[in-house]
Symmetry: C2
Subunit: 453 residues, 2 copies
């Protein structure tokens, strides 16, 4: 029996098992659910063992455990490391759920439950594919699982875990299904994410708010100084004017620009959706290119002085701004923060004291689009969905992707099976079973393609 | 008996009467004190009658009443209109008063009570001078009193009152004692005040805060737009760069600059006092010149986006700023607001919606320093204090001064007898009796000088 028929035969059993997994309220953010987290890890370990994986372990971290399992009996073949997470988001506001979040319900060929698409449903598919292939003696490669329980709280312990288990986790490619298709029926391989760094600027002038009548004109106004300083950070087209900011930026390849362009994003539609009078940004790039593949420096917050009703005629004692940058390869967060601090020192107007505090950091990430493992994923998608997958990047940051890639020196195939309207992190989260069925196929085709490398 | 001896003889009676006036808790801001306001107005009317004034009236306004009185029996001589107020500030925090605010106490030749210097003590001196001069048949001019009860709440009804009583209030000069000496022993005539106008700028971008990863680079950040807009309003020396802003500004006269310079303000000391790294402002002017006689545009408040702990990677939907300008003659508040709005329209960067709301307005004011009535006040000060008074301006705004000057077309002699450390509006307000004694003399010398015009 081929794997396609096998999946069809087993479908209802699979869905019953997925419901079991979804019934466990493994909310990592809430300490009340600590026990549920353990239950979910144990359920997962059992499920890996049942599927035929060896050396299954629940490995402790400073927070929630990582579930590990492996099958390495094709020593001449590549190894795929599968990453996923068994923790889920909180469920508030509960009254907006049509059916309770931990009582999975299938309607309209969609399974509704917290975690259905993010990420229990997606990680579950990998387990079932391996179970199917092992039970038919046809798993053509080696696999390892690394399923964490802290993704929804920012993976605070995963980088250290990977660092400490480099040997155990070594592989040829990381497969990760925690993202989405481009749209229904059109798969996407996300091969790049932006990095992040942030800082706060604090300008201080007089030792207290001053009467603007008595002192206005005599001293620098910290808001004026801040405004003047921040205005030196972009040109009138929104390009960042920090010295050296773009020095390490890898230019977009012609083939990437062409691929992005072929996705046919409607800028008019985006403008309408966001309610802005026009889109805006760096000259010479489309909105998609600017959000996926160009770095930004955004002032996320600014405050100082009086913001109540009417007027208050003061020169405020202080003014503040919070800034984060989205970074692209090969910008280094630390180096960018250095450049910004240097800029702040050079461009702060006279008459104020200046302080800078640094925040979060995450490196940008991009997998080589032509890498054979990424191409293997593309071929698998094509075979399962009947169309070429889109190659996409994301403007956001998933620091653990970069950590895996860097620490294990492997490419990362982000193979999403969710849809962007499936209410990730919101009430009525669901997973379309069309993509469950096609996902099982895609993953098994991916393993097959990998075995030919 | 000359007037000097008369004052010495009557001093203890005067002080007992002043204490009576100070015992009335006439707090205009608090509705609980409505009855006390009436009591104070009646006390004042009685006091004017006792002093010998005619046509004494308590005239209603939409708020607290104005007390009027006159003595016009020297038809060939000039008329001095005396302005003051019988209302006082609230007294919180009560526990910081060494003696209760409405139980006047004399210690160290200072009288302590709410209203002692601002303004009951100062207005009381005029009444006693007139009483003395009338009782000795030696009042050499005509006088009118206009004592209001709403100065501490911004004189909301006074402009309309003056407009409606132009004939009744007509005079040759307005005398007003609600300001301070330059310093102990050194009197000052304040002959100029800055005006005021204000507005709020609201920039709106996307219809909600956006994820800076997903949209950063595609749209204008309203904070960036605000920063860019505001940065076009000053040059690097703090000079306002709104087109036409300085067009109506009367340049400082050489004699004014010299007079300011002779006051010997220490910029080093001001810097230390305010805790700033350096003073800052328009090139070519001293700090005193900048605060007294040059206009300003100050951003009093700015806000938008996230200001909590750590970072929040958003592009905010909105950003806001509050602005007020201090104006000097002959800048018109309305005209300046027009110029700023025009500037905002011209310089708002693309990608955001812009809104402007206008606020408070008050015209700037300056009395001609060489006007004979102002010179009469100067001679009187010289005679009483033995030193030339300083001619000063103030950076703040007292809109009613400008209203009187404009509506009645008369110069205003601001003859302060307070000291800047006498806790105006604060606990332990007091009035130094040295300036009570010298004030009585100064006022009577002023009337004498006026009679020679």
């Amino acid at each position: 029996m081929n794997v396609e028929s096998f999946f069809v035969n087993q479908r209802s059993r699979y869905l019953e098992e997925l419901k079991e997994f979804l019934r466990i309220p493994s909310i990592s953010a809430l300490t009340d659910h600590k026990e549920d987290m353990n239950t979910a890890a144990e359920w997962l370990a059992e499920s890996l063992k049942t599927a035929g994986l060896k050396n299954v372990q629940i490995l402790p971290t400073k927070g929630h455990s990582v579930v590990y399992g492996e099958w390495l009996e094709n020593p001449s073949k590549p190894t795929v490391l599968i990453y996923g997470h068994y923790d889920v988001q909180p469920v508030d506001p509960l009254n907006l759920w049509q059916t309770p979040p931990f009582e999975p319900d299938i309607r309209d060929n969609k399974i509704y439950a917290r975690g259905a698409t993010d990420d229990k449903g997606q990680v579950f598919m990998y387990i079932k594919v391996i179970e199917a292939l092992l039970s038919t003696n046809s798993l053509p490669i080696n696999v390892k699982f690394c399923i964490e329980g802290e993704e929804e709280i920012g993976s605070p312990n995963l980088e250290e875990f990977v660092e400490q288990h480099k040997e155990l986790l070594s592989a040829d490619v990381l497969a990760l299904s925690d993202t989405t298709l481009l749209e229904k029926g059109k798969p996407a391989i996300c091969y790049g994410l932006r990095g992040l760094c942030g800082l706060q600027i604090d300008l201080t002038g007089p030792n207290s708010d001053l009467h603007s009548g008595l002192y206005g004109g005599a001293v620098q106004n910290p808001i004026h100084a801040l405004v003047e300083l921040l205005s030196t950070m972009h040109d009138s087209q929104g390009k960042v004017t920090i010295d050296g900011f773009y020095d390490q930026v890898q230019p977009l390849l012609d083939e990437e620009r062409q691929a992005f362009n072929e996705l046919g994003q409607s800028e008019e539609q985006l403008k309408e959706q966001l309610g802005v009078p026009e889109l805006f940004g760096e000259n010479g790039y489309s909105a998609l290119e600017r959000t996926w593949a160009r770095p930004t420096l955004e002032v996320n917050g600014i405050w100082g002085g009086f913001s109540g009703e009417g007027t208050k005629t003061i020169i405020p004692a202080e003014a503040h701004a919070k800034i984060t940058c989205r970074l692209v390869p090969d910008q280094e967060p630390e180096a960018i923060l250095e450049l910004i601090e240097k800029h702040v020192t050079k461009h702060t107007p006279p008459g104020v004291w200046v302080g800078v505090t640094r925040f979060d950091k995450g490196r940008p990430f991009v997998s080589p689009i032509n890498h054979p493992t990424i191409q293997a994923a593309a071929k698998a998608y094509k075979k399962a969905y009947g169309v070429e997958p889109a190659f996409t990047r994301m403007g956001g940051s998933i620091p653990i992707v970069e950590s895996f890639g860097r620490l294990l020196s492997i490419p990362v195939a982000m193979m999403g099976f969710g849809l962007s309207d499936e209410n990730f992190h919101a009430p009525n989260e669901h997973f379309h079973l069309e993509n469950f069925d096609k996902g099982l196929l895609t993953i098994s085709y991916f393993f097959e393609e990998m075995s030919n490398l």
